[in-house]
Assembly symmetry: C2
């Protein structure tokens, strides 16, 4: 596409989205409707009205496409949504909202500014994640998300606050008796592989094909591959009729169908039926966006994840089958098997009216509504794909959702446009939230354990992950690797069967000992032991998942995010030879014997009884074996009672150093190998503050 | 002297001293006398019997002249004396002392070992502080000190525990009536200069002349020069007769003659007369080392410093003159005026009997007993001379005495041998202690304020002294100087009248701003302000005394000592332009106005209200003036409430950095000069642990 076409197409896309968003707000009957909250968990709609415009300003500023703010006061007011983290949020903030007219005027100013950028700003292709113009696409897609979520807020608003609009009319529901609704059925899905992810976000989007060329949120990049076992899935989304059986069976009252979190929500909300169902004297109605209609029994039920999961538990009980929600991977199996393309007919992109449609309207392969109609809940908490990077100008879009509390919803709904309607897209919501979302169920094995997706933001743990596996600072080489190298060199000519890395922290030295020096073999078996279960867990995670993510403090509470993989570190092969255990260096279990090498790096000045450790360690090492100790000798009473310090005090009138003490404790069973050497190390605390220390390394050979 | 002569002379000297020490202990009547303490403040004599031998072993080990210990158990037991820091020490430690015979045998083993070293160890001249053989001289001189102090313990022992020996007989006192003792008189001493100190300890001792060639304790090295005003001094030491007038006048009962410390001691000890005076029915006797004799009224009285000072206060009252103890410098004036040489006849070096002699026996110039007879108390607490360094193998000989609580005693006594009898020597005792010591008095102006001599061992203060004035680490240039250089460069072409260094800590930047860039002028006036009075005091001390000493942590509680001088730093001239004040950056006094430059280095992330500081600082700076800020932005709630952090958090959905905040606060009144730059700094915590940070420096010009 040439530049002129790009500008033209983009402008048209922008205007369409921007104007359509305002059009949606025409469903608010009065100005008052903007200021009254529809639900307590969210701002009133006036916020969302201004928010998407403010978002354009913020991102275009960061991308340096505009030189200054348009309305600093509005851009403060409309910047941040309410934290939807809790259902017991009683936010009563007294916001000083501007008038609707003022916000409309503001939106026009923003529209003009964005138009000016698209029309006049310097363009340098290709379009990509790294191109400043990505911010324009981001603004548009962000507004499309809010188009959908605002439509839900409108749907949740009191009826007298909303008004139907001709451009926003629902589909006319043909009345169907509850009993006449087509029965659902299970369809077998064979085992197969799925690949998710758009790969490297910095690759040239225009050079890619298909969806890779389109805008993507950061959570879509990277890669995930899974071999999905066979399962069966409900042919259709669960309809209101199918769900009624659960309601009538007392599903909302029977605690056994609800897990702990779901039960907590259900009791708090006093939920007794799906939120958009309206109890009537003679049955049920359904609240659509701007009106109530007699219950369309053949339309998909709309519930939160807790309700969907409870239905599955009930269904499992009544059928005796392992009924549950699908995983994200299983949904992709349906997608891939159903031959869906952007042209596949579906109830989406506002192409067929502003509501759901019957669950048996849009066939896609052997299923209905694999995409479109309403979103479908999965049981998979969203996690970052391998290679995930946060986009620098919106780094808190995805990362806060990687907290195991946001479940993926797939497929899109009737109002999902743009990115939302793509295979690659990955949206997630808190399990207690409502959207235009329902579910299908599957019968299959219990899904694999959810990917551990959190960013370790235990500050100390993150510091150590960076220290062991991250970058170097001040040209100081990686310390745990340096210690391993020195140790491996000391082992030349000796048998290398078993090594113990005591005080291993997050395990770098253990991995290096198993890997060995370049061109040489490593140890046959390495045990890493640390007193801290947290440290051991991270090392285990790296082996088990092949990936660890952590958040480093940059400045104050601002963080940046890192990802380390076993593969990039070159430890994939050797990790099978390494085991990590929690343990106490001053009280090692009996089975720690017969080591050819024991490494205790930066350990002794952190023990509560270092003398005991030194006096007993020889029993763990074979004759001729090696002990490597490193320490900066930073004795601190918070770790070691002063009476237990090995050295660093005057004894009998003379300076008695820790090195003196090492000789005193070890010389009976060990002879020193070589002279003590200095090994520096740097631990990053913030982007500007580091601990820079110099450990002394001593090497000892176990006497025969 | 050739090598053979050296070995022979040294061996002879060693044997003489070593055997004489044992001979002294022959004054103990029984083995029991070794184990019973003579005074509560000291070990029993068995300790001192073994201690001097153990000292040889310890120092020869450190000097690597012997390869191993002779008796590790004894060397632990005999290593450290009781801390004589308090008169209320009720040490009841239950030591498992060896027998006298065992210690005698041990001493013989040590004698043989030292003999072997002197005879056979490799010799590489010249003899000097840095030569390992210095340890041999040190052992000998150490034993000579204990010869004297043990003789005092013997003198303090119960009479039935001691026995006179023919080789240790006192001088026969000719009986003199109290009234017949020659009256003391004041002798005028003109104003004059004194120079003390043996200079650089690493200079070649053999190349020097006179005393400089001899062994010296570390406190003798360095240099001190003083211009001493005229005064008059008592011709003779105060005799027992002269002191009796004080006793009879009720001097011990009248509190007004005693300062607070002296009064505390006097009450605790219930002292009513000098400690060696023995009350008899018909008068007084005097306890000598091993016997009591009728009071020799014409011998010098022996008292502690408190008693001597109280006498002076009484004497001042009765005479109306400013009577006081001499200063060390005043004693040196007497010494230099009296033409004393090593050959001058005096009651010292055991040359004239094992006791004092009459105060009118040894004339030296216009005085008697400038040297010899008994030590004479001064009112000067011992302090390190400029250029002082602790000797690495005995670094706690002098330094613990630099605590303002150890007063110098000069001149030596009848038993003072070796180093003790030299002009250069500087011995000091706690003011409540007894030795063979008395005093003369002077009449003169109040002495100059005692030299501040302590080692700042407030760890943070010492860290900052090193950070500002000490050595560089990891090749990172001195930070406060780098900040001053950048600031001075920003001032080029601008008037440089007044500068404010706010958050100056210990003042390096202030000094550099006053000094200016090489070849250029500095500021006419620099004010350094810090919230911490401790930091300001150290900067003041450096200006006032020209010297600051501090103790750095090496490892655990082991320290090493540093000294910084204004002269070596090159700040002598510019310091007159600098003033240091305690103050609060968030609440500066009104008079802080009209600055051409304000530097706030590593300040803002340590303020409780940094925004206030930034918003008001422009009022302090002239139009066109410069503001320089540096910070690593390490926001911590312990310094700054989170609500007051300038940046380092998300604001309105976006990352908001401290740099963003600086622009927001300053842009109204300042324009940025240049781009932000990174300036690294390193703060040493121990010999192996450092904080290594990178501050961001921004430069701002006050708008006109």
């Amino acid at each position: 596409m040439n530049e002129a076409d790009l500008r033209k197409t983009l402008l048209s896309y922008f205007e369409t989205c921007f104007d359509r968003y305002e059009s949606l707000f025409g469903c608010l009957r009065s100005d008052a409707a903007y200021f009254q909250k529809s639900i307590s968990l969210r701002h009133p709609l006036i916020f969302y009205f201004g928010h998407t415009a403010t978002f354009f300003v913020n991102k275009l500023l960061l991308a340096k496409l505009i030189p200054e703010r348009i309305n600093p006061r509005f851009e403060a007011l409309f910047a941040v949504g309410v934290d939807e983290m809790s259902w017991d949020d009683l936010d009563e903030a007294n916001y000083d909202w501007p008038t609707v007219a003022e916000v409309k005027a503001y939106r026009q100013q923003v529209r003009s500014a964005v138009t000016r950028v698209i029309t006049e700003a310097a363009w340098c292709g290709p379009m990509s994640w790294d191109n400043p113009w990505w911010a324009i696409l981001m603004g548009i897609e962000h507004e499309l998300i809010h188009l959908e979520t605002s439509s839900v807020l409108i749907r949740q608003h009191r009826l007298d606050f909303v008004q139907p609009q001709s451009s926003w009319l629902p589909v006319n529901a043909k009345p169907v008796d509850c009993g006449a609704v087509p029965k659902n059925a299970l369809v077998n899905v064979p085992a197969g592989a799925v690949t998710i992810g758009k790969g490297d976000p910095h690759a040239d989007a225009c050079a890619s094909a298909g969806e890779a060329r389109r805008y993507g949120w950061d959570n879509e990049y990277g890669v995930h591959y899974a071999e999905v076992p066979k399962f069966s899935a409900s042919r259709m989304l669960v309809s209101n009729a199918e769900f009624l059986a659960f309601v009538d069976a007392g599903g909302y009252a029977k605690d056994r169908f609800w897990n702990e979190e779901g039960l907590g929500w259900r009791r708090f909300a006093k939920a007794m039926h799906p939120t958009f169902w309206v109890k009537q004297p003679d049955g049920w109605a359904l609240r659509l966006m701007c009106e109530e209609v007699p219950m369309p029994w053949d339309w998909p039920v709309e519930v939160n994840c807790h309700e969907a999961a409870a239905f599955c538990v009930w269904k499992a009980e009544v059928t005796g089958m392992s009924v549950r929600l699908p995983t994200e991977d299983e949904w992709y199996r349906l997608y891939d098997l159903s031959g869906i393309t952007p042209e596949t007919p579906a109830q989406r992109r506002l192409s067929g009216g502003c509501s759901a449609v019957p669950v048996n309207q849009y066939a896609q392969g052997d299923f209905y509504d694999v995409v479109g109609n309403v979103w479908q809940w999965t049981c998979t908490p969203i996690y970052p794909l391998a290679g995930f990077e946060a986009h620098p100008i919106y780094d808190d879009f995805s990362i806060p959702t990687f907290d195991t509390r946001h479940n993926l919803i797939k497929g899109g709904s009737w109002i999902s446009c743009g990115n939302e309607a793509l295979r690659a897209s990955r949206y997630a919501f808190r399990r207690h939230f409502f959207q235009h979302a329902g579910f299908r169920y599957v019968v299959g094995e219990a899904p694999l354990v959810a990917q551990v997706s959190h960013y370790e933001d235990d500050a100390l743990l993150a510091q150590y992950a960076e220290f062991h596996f991250g970058q170097s600072y001040f040209d100081v080489p990686n310390f745990p690797r340096a210690v391993a190298e020195i140790s491996l060199k000391a082992m030349q000519g000796k048998p290398m069967r078993r090594a113990l890395d005591i005080g291993c922290a997050v395990g770098r030295t253990s991995f290096e000992l198993a890997k060995g020096l370049p061109g040489a073999l490593g140890f046959e078996s390495v045990i890493g032991v640390d007193f801290s279960a947290r440290f051991i867990n991270l090392a285990d995670e790296l082996v088990r998942d092949g990936i660890v993510r952590y958040a480093l403090t940059d400045e104050g509470s601002l963080q940046s995010f890192r990802e380390i993989t076993l593969a990039k570190l070159g430890f994939t092969d050797c990790s099978a030879k390494v085991a990590f255990l929690q343990g106490d260096a001053c009280n090692l279990k009996e089975n720690h014997r017969e080591y050819d090498l024991v490494v205790a790096a930066n350990l002794i000045d952190r023990l509560y009884d270092p003398a005991k450790f030194l006096d007993e360690i020889s029993q763990r090492i074979v004759p001729g074996g090696v002990l490597v100790l490193t320490s900066p000798y930073t004795w601190l009473e918070e770790h070691t009672p002063k009476a237990q310090w090995l050295g660093g005090f005057r004894r009998d009138g003379e300076r008695y150093t820790t090195l003196d003490a090492l000789h005193a404790h070890l010389s009976r069973d060990f002879e020193p190998i070589g002279a003590p050497q200095d090994v520096p190390f740097v631990i990053r605390e913030t982007a500007r503050k580091f601990q820079h220390s110099v450990a002394q390394l001593t090497c000892w050979q176990r006497r025969a």
